[in-house]
Symmetry: D2
């Protein structure tokens, strides 16, 4: 699914072109349309530009190096663990969606609006491994995209202290076939394996600081996540209660979000939304189906900011999990690295 989303979103991209595809043994050797026969799950058809491409095996690094400037990886974690390093070693920058290297201390986990400066560890990473051209960059889990950007903007000014977050996550987050329809129609499943742990651990690295050859996770921040699977197609929603070290006024929060201009937007990255955080005033927004496609699915839509009886404030955040939270996020990372001349 993530791979197919990359192909869909890169059609007509102004900077990048899909020139080479790799996949598991089973699919390799065929042209792309045959390799996904009956398993193309995108709403639009296979783009013309990739219809003629063959699917190659994972191991042919020479061909890959010849045909590509860098690679997007949507590999399964186990395979990613091995192959992402092999691609980097063979001179290819790897923009990864896998979780394999999210905890690796010299691999930046980027949300460009928040921590674009983490990219600057890339030279150290290369040095650590003795890689000349290749490197690895990752993105965080899809579940936290809907609240990490609004929280990090406030963290800058007020210091994030505690957050309790309940997510309502769409079925597309589980890939395909993913969640059985019999399990989720007219139902809520209050559990997604491994999701709460990722949602609690990854923000600390994202909010961390580059020190020497490492990214040191932020400390003094407590995050608790309740992750639920709900019967929606796309879009992860989060209900957030939050406290800061320095308690802001409600107007300060709103103006922080409204005035924030992101580095990706300043750099004119093609996929960067104009508003890093779009705040909606209506009492009942954001809504999953109405707001997930904001800024072509790259927007973070926020609403319902109000006080909290236990922590300081409450709000609701929403993002498109397979665009912003997956392939679109990877593409924005690549755009950032291109603008910063790492690609």
């Amino acid at each position: 699914m993530v791979g197919q989303n990359y192909i869909r979103l890169l059609e007509n991209h102004p900077w990048f072109e899909v020139s080479y595809l790799v996949a598991s043994e089973k699919s390799s050797g065929k042209r792309f349309p045959e390799s996904v026969s009956g398993r193309w799950h995108m709403p639009s058809d296979i783009p013309e530009g990739v219809k003629g491409l063959y699917v190659h095996t994972l191991d042919d690094f020479n061909s890959a190096k010849k045909e590509c400037d860098f690679v997007f990886s949507a590999l399964d974690t186990d395979i990613a663990k091995v192959y992402e390093e092999l691609y980097a070693k063979n001179g290819l920058p790897v923009i990864s969606n896998a979780s394999a290297h999210r905890s690796t201390s010299d691999v930046p986990m980027l949300i460009p609006e928040i921590n674009h400066e983490h990219a600057d560890i890339i030279p150290m990473q290369k040095k650590n491994h003795g890689w000349t051209d290749g490197f690895i960059v990752v993105k965080p889990n899809c579940s936290l995209q809907s609240y990490m950007t609004p929280l990090s903007i406030l963290h800058e000014r007020f210091g994030l202290k505690k957050a309790i977050i309940t997510t309502m996550q769409a079925v597309s987050g589980a890939g395909h076939p993913g969640v059985a329809s019999y399990d989720i129609i007219d139902n809520i499943i209050p559990y997604i394996k491994g999701e709460e742990e990722k949602s609690e651990r990854e923000p600390l690295k994202i909010l961390g600081k580059v020190k020497g050859s490492q990214i040191i996770p932020a400390t003094g921040i407590d995050i608790s996540a309740h992750c639920n699977r709900v019967p929606t197609i796309d879009g992860h929603m989060a209900c957030v209660s939050v406290s800061f070290k320095k308690r802001p006024e409600i107007d300060e929060i709103l103006s922080s979000w409204k005035k924030f201009v992101s580095v990706p937007y300043k750099l004119k990255l093609p996929s960067a939304p104009k508003e890093a955080v779009l705040y909606r005033d209506e009492p009942d927004r954001p809504q999953t189906r109405l707001d997930r496609d904001n800024s072509n699915g790259m927007g973070i839509v926020v609403g319902r900011l109000r006080g909290c009886n236990v922590l300081q404030y409450r709000f609701v955040g929403l993002s498109h999990n397979t665009v912003r939270g997956a392939a679109g996020g990877g593409i924005l990372n690549a755009e950032l690295l291109k603008a910063k001349r790492y690609l």
Copy 2:
């Protein structure tokens, strides 16, 4: 919808029989089946026992008094405000689902497993109003049924201090027609008018104490609720983070729930579930569709008890909103009052 659920749930009730129906002017004067023609929304057919009953006007207290021992009220708030008192004044105990009298200090808001002893204010209430036979008893909002019973059991031993709760509430909670299908299929609406306020205020009264002629709400407890509408038919789920004055061990929580034997069950009330709180060990339960019908929809199903990084513990609760949370809850209240000889 609530009225129809009463009729459905009272079919074959061992203690009570539907003998008399009142409704708005529009419906009155017709036999019940004609009065709801095309608007009977229950999955089972109209019970034989009420097919012959006529629908009467609200004002005919003499007839009501002659035909009934007490009344269940599913009136709209505005009408309830006026008419529930009139029925009480005219000698009829009123078991209400309306929110009109939930804040009235001498009206008990009962969840029999939690605060059956609040019923003992009834004589004072009668005295306050100069009523001889009539009185008013209410039940709380449906949104809080899934977590108030488990929380109150723990409150007894450990003292509830803070709770942040995110609900995922079924569409039947909005009545009929309620939520438009266009608004909720493939969607989450993170807002239900007035629901968060009720969810934060009502627990304090439920956990309060009878003092003289008043119920004094509990103090020193902070509750914050995020209420969401989700595309499920029946069943309100809640993700709860909670702290206690005296921090329990996880085993103490589990054993508190498991050992608790409720007064309604001891009194052999027909609608009382055997387990006031049914804890499920599976990592992914309760689930809305799988667990809402536990104990004929009167059960509270709880799972996923685990630590919380911000407060002390987290768990998930579920209850059936139109049974336990509405008509079934009203019937259990009536059963309690019958057992306590107030009816």
Copy 3:
């Protein structure tokens, strides 16, 4: 809903601009955003171009005439009956979505791909009424859009004889609030009031011929429709069994569809899809969610052509009910009339 869809779809239209709005008494006198406050049901925001427009009363024909070249009508049937004639009488061409005039013999019911030549009755209609500039043009019911274009292409060559059609229609077809979510989640309702009658009657007029000052419905064609409401947001699907006077080979059907070039496309109407009928070869297409947005929601997607044991052939058709089947269809009608110089 239809009115809002017009406003959404006319944003950035190359030929038309929304310059004037009328609505019922309740809404008139306010600016448009205030008039729909909390009831704007489109996925995109209110277009900038109409934010400043005031909503006028239905009766101010002079203002309307001054501000508009023609009007789109999404009035309720009863009001349409009266007011569409009044607008026409007052010199304004009316492009209507209402059913009021669908049976009127000198009012063309247009699907431009099929019966664009019915527009040529407009001068006769004007003459019949003594109207100088105004006239009325209607579009058919949304339920039949998914199969009438493929059938009419075949009718030309082979003569349509019998068709049995079962539709599965999205909830947006019922407007807003329309179908209650409690009635349709995890459910199918095999009944839509009046829909089967329209689906059986309107095709005969669409396939009819202009004779003098009347459109004479086609005869010798038997159509039977089963109309169902299903839990999808947008998109009406139809399963069709069909027989022709002259039995075609299966290849003749496919090539008829593939070779057909529509008059709207030849006229370069902005909303006309390139393929009047897009045939998909996959065994499991069209699908509602995957295919409804084809050609910006104006496409008719067809698949599964195969023999039938009772009639001659079977196929599946799909169209977007609120775009092609409502506002988009009205806009295409207006484009046709503009190209034909009736506007």
Copy 4:
């Protein structure tokens, strides 16, 4: 899923008790709860009576023969092909849900309300194979249960000639995991592999006659099926257009259904519904969620009888696919065979 439904439905069965379980190698050797760990998909818990049972391998016919009087088979088709005959050969009657033997001419395909007399081929079947105690009985595909009983009652009097049927089938019909939620939420899939063929072929055998050692399928009946997957949990609905050799009056159809008393009901089979066909007068019934549980899921609910412009009549039928259409149907078959002393 089918096996689990058998276990669920046989809990507290007055005649039968689950005494022995077999499954694939993977599950065998474990107690039943361990063997399905995390994959028990029923809404109610695993019945107490089977919690202690071990799961055995397919091959241990001696143990099976010792522990059982007969077996229910929910095997996959390929395995069923081989093992159902082996069980029969080893002296065990096989009540099968598999499609392996549906076309075998001496194997009865039973819907007891329709063709209970097909059971009388069992002695011939035994003789054909040289089996002493064992035999095989099958049930038809779930898709046709909703219309075959109403059609066969009419067939007796009026002679079925042609039927065009469009089904809207629930996701549980595809087993578990079955249909991916991403593929069916807000969607219709107008294709179910092999389903239309079964729906067109199997009725002919069901309406056939026992002649000597064979069941001879009915002839002169044309059936055409359009099978669709829709986003409902349980319940297959069918829209039917039908013609008879002798055209009935509409009242004759209604009275045929109403007066019909089925043999299973006369025999007092525990799972037999009182009404073989329950006709509902409301214009919008049956509905999937409201009517699927009629007679504990064994009922066939029919409505909307009206004329058809192409064939003679139209109606809508509904049945519960995993109860009547699967395990419940198998249990009714076993009850019939018990009452007829074949078990």
